[in-house]
């Protein structure tokens, strides 16, 4: 044990000495020599990230530049040998998508869906957080009940909503009819279907916003409100000039997160309306999924969709960060 340690330093010392003498090895070598321990500690994370995220990403990028499908990728299955015949086609997949009539209409609806959902998430979440931030009886019970939608797996909620909103046999329409009103085509009319998926997603997403904002509210010092009250500020002024600025660090993060999640909110659309009726509620991710998994799988086309969605979100995140930084945000 001890000899090993001695060996180690003995071996290490001359090499370090050599590096120091002629300045030939440059900055990189010295950097490595000095920080090897840190690098060794990071290595597992770096390697796992590269394997799980880096490789698929690079592979996806590459596939999106080819015409690969399930039919022309080489493979051998038992007695069947299929040669690889896919080719590099440059940006033609992207050109096809961007010039298709489908793309702009899908993008338009995806943006509408994201903006409306996040605005409602934030608005309702903030309202509930404010209500629950004041002392009242059974407060923890209310908080628990409001978090419930978040605790149920999204796909379970999506199925339940689908049954509730069924036009002929659904509970919602049964209640409307019992009240003497006509039933509504919740999922069968294009406009109502859009409203329904937004409602379901709002129901699912509000708890997260509420919890995050409740945490933010509790971090705002009470003295600020007391001082404002002494100065004669109205409740609206207190909300506008203390609560909102105090929440900003939390809000900016959760709004960005909410935007990305909603933009890619697959289960709600796919399970509640399946993109219907007539494709009217299909967002970009559900459309890309169908490209990939319907019939003979179109690897290149769906990879191009995936990369395009990624690029859209990166652009959004960068613009958003810039805007925040201009307002003096630190991150």
């Amino acid at each position: 044990m001890t000899t090993q340690v001695v060996d180690g330093t003995a071996a290490g010392a001359p090499s370090r000495g050599r590096a120091r003498r002629p300045r030939r090895e440059g900055g990189a070598g010295r950097f490595l020599a000095r920080h090897w321990y840190a690098w060794a500690m990071c290595a597992p994370v770096v390697i796992v990230t590269l394997v799980l995220i880096g490789y698929p990403l690079v592979r996806g990028l590459y596939l999106s530049l080819t015409d690969a499908t399930e039919a022309n990728m080489g493979r051998t299955i038992g007695m069947n040998v299929i040669p690889s015949t896919y080719e590099f086609v440059g940006l033609s997949n992207y050109a096809d998508i961007v010039t298709s009539s489908e793309f702009l209409s899908r993008l338009g609806w995806t943006v509408t869906w994201t903006v409306v959902c996040v605005a409602l998430h934030y608005g309702i979440g903030l309202g509930l957080a404010l209500l629950l931030n004041r002392p009242m009886r059974l407060r923890s019970l209310y908080r628990m009940l409001l978090v419930l939608p978040w605790a149920v797996p999204a796909f379970v909620s999506a199925f339940i909503w689908r049954y509730l909103l069924n036009g002929e046999f659904g509970v919602v329409n049964a209640m409307l009819r019992a009240a003497g009103l006509a039933g509504v085509d919740w999922l069968d009319d294009p406009l109502w279907a859009k409203a329904s998926v937004i409602a379901v997603n709002v129901w699912l997403g509000v708890p997260f916003m509420m919890l995050a904002l409740l945490g933010g509210l509790q971090a705002i010092p009470r003295e600020l409100y007391e001082a404002a009250e002494v100065d004669g500020a109205t409740p609206w002024q207190r909300f506008r000039h203390i609560t909102l600025p105090g929440l900003r660090p939390v809000s900016s993060t959760v709004v960005l997160l909410g935007t990305i999640w909603t933009f890619n909110q697959f289960p709600v659309i796919f399970l509640v309306t399946r993109g219907g009726p007539g494709g009217s509620s299909e967002i970009l991710v559900t459309y890309a999924y169908r490209q990939a998994f319907e019939g003979i799988r179109n690897y290149s086309g769906s990879a191009a969709w995936g990369v395009l969605i990624l690029v859209l979100l990166i652009v959004l995140a960068v613009v958003y960060r810039r805007a925040l930084r201009r307002q003096g945000e630190a991150w």
Binding site: E70, A71, R75, I77, G78, M79, N80, V81, I82, R162, L165, N166, G167, E168, F169, D185, L187, D188, D189, P190, T273, R274, G276, P277, G278, G279, S280, R290, F293, E294, G295, I296, R297
Partner: protein, 432 residues
């Protein structure tokens, strides 16, 4: 079409002449003993993905497996029930990666050409799995062929028929089910005005649109001349009948989400007099409120005819063997056993599913179930579907078009033009 009729006619003829069938097998016995001598030496494990209904149908297939194991004790069978809706994608993922794929799959007839074109299936010529192919009904058997080779053998066949509630039709003054689309509309309107129920429930699904398209002489594609015919005048005329049924009120306003379940529920509750559905729904329907105690109230008729003919799509399921299977010999034997006329007759007798072998119709096991005889007539109008690798992609665009028509967003002509355009994107090199 003509092949479908002749096959069914042959089945009917065979049913009448059971005793004559014995002589037909003379060439096979000489081969069979040699095969079974080899067969008893085969050992291994066979994993079978069954896509049938796990509660109603699965147990019957599991009983067959018990018989198989008794006959071939050296072969172990792993029965896995995979929900039908997931099976296609699940199999493709597993087959392609080479791990986790089953040895034998129950594949829907429309999947086989796609799987075969992708190299996932083993050709069955010269193996025990392709046993007495001349006994298969022509239309279902054709679903297993791709590029001149056989990749799958038919397990059950089915088609759509017109299912009706006899009591409701009688109340409306009709003793017989409608035979043409005009009669369908009239009967439906009569039920609505006289029997206090809706006349017809439509299932907004591309597959259920086919009887109307076939009836007017249309089709989705003309495979022989590589033409997309979904927007042809004939096909358009067929879909316009559906549009008229909806706008005239003969059909209840169709649900678009969960369309199948809603139509079935309405039919079983007696809220609607007629629906289109296949033999797979027999058990479900007979358990419904209005049929449970009165099974005679449940009527089955061929789909009504249009100006050209009466036609409904050929459906059903096939047995296919995965090309990458480590136990090919055992898998072939398993398919041979499961797809024998005796096995098919057992399944038919217990579940009312229609055998894909002519000789099975004549067997007492199959004849014990009266559903088999009742579905014979609808089966006569079964039309062969285009068995091409892209077949699975044809339904989504048509479904979207149908949904738009049903919701009143688009007229038939415009909607079908969109479908044809989508087909051009899927089928490279096909003309309109």
């Amino acid at each position: 079409m003509r092949r479908g009729i002749s096959a069914a006619a042959a089945a009917a003829a065979l049913a009448l002449a059971v005793s004559a069938c014995g002589g037909q097998d003379t060439p096979t016995p000489s081969a069979a003993p040699a095969k079974s001598a080899d067969a008893s030496a085969v050992s291994g494990e066979v994993t079978w993905w069954d896509t049938s209904d796990a509660t109603n149908e699965g147990p019957v297939f599991q009983d067959l497996i018990k018989d198989f194991q008794a006959k071939y004790p050296k072969i172990k069978v792993n029965y896995v029930n995979v929900p039908f809706a997931d099976a296609q994608n699940k199999f493709k993922t597993a087959a392609q990666s080479g791990s986790g794929a089953p040895d034998v799959l129950r594949a829907e007839v429309g999947w086989v050409a796609e799987f075969a074109s992708l190299g996932y299936l083993a050709p069955l010529e010269g193996t025990p799995a392709l046993d007495k192919p001349e006994d298969f009904l022509a239309s279902p058997a054709s679903s297993g062929k791709y590029n001149g080779k056989t990749y799958a053998v038919p397990q059950v066949t089915d088609t759509l028929g017109l299912l009706y509630n006899k009591e409701l039709l009688k109340k409306a003054g009709h003793d017989a089910p409608p035979k043409t689309f005009q009669e369908l509309k009239q009967v439906a309107l009569d039920v609505k005005s006289k029997a206090g129920a809706d006349g017809l429930a439509l299932n907004v699904d591309a597959y259920f649109l086919l009887p109307f398209i076939y009836g007017e002489g249309g089709d989705l594609l003309d495979v022989a001349s590589k033409k997309i015919t979904v927007a042809s005048p004939q096909s358009t005329a067929g879909v316009k009948i559906v549009e008229d049924l909806i706008t005239s009120g003969a059909a209840a306003k169709p649900a678009i989400q969960d369309s199948y379940t809603n139509a079935e529920t309405a039919f079983k509750e007696g809220k609607v007099a007629m629906i289109f559905n296949g033999p797979w729904s027999n058990t479900d329907n007979l358990g419904g409120k209005v049929f449970k105690d009165k099974p005679d109230n449940f009527g089955i008729a061929p789909v009504p005819s249009g100006s050209a003919k009466a036609g409904s799509p050929t459906g059903g399921h096939d047995y296919a063997v995965y090309a990458g299977s480590k136990n090919l010999d055992a898998s072939y034997l398993f398919v041979q056993f499961m797809d024998s006329a005796e096995s098919q007759a057992k399944v038919a007798g217990k579940l009312g599913l229609l055998p894909a072998r002519q000789s099975a119709y004549a067997m007492p096991d199959a004849q014990a179930n009266d559903m088999i005889a009742k579905w014979k007539e609808p089966m006569a109008s079964a039309v062969e579907r285009p068995w091409i690798p892209e077949g699975g992609q044809l339904f989504q665009p048509l479904l979207e078009g149908y949904q738009k028509i049903a919701a009143g967003q688009k007229g038939t002509d415009a909607a079908l033009q969109d479908v044809a355009k989508a087909y051009q994107g899927i089928l490279k090199g096909w003309s309109l």
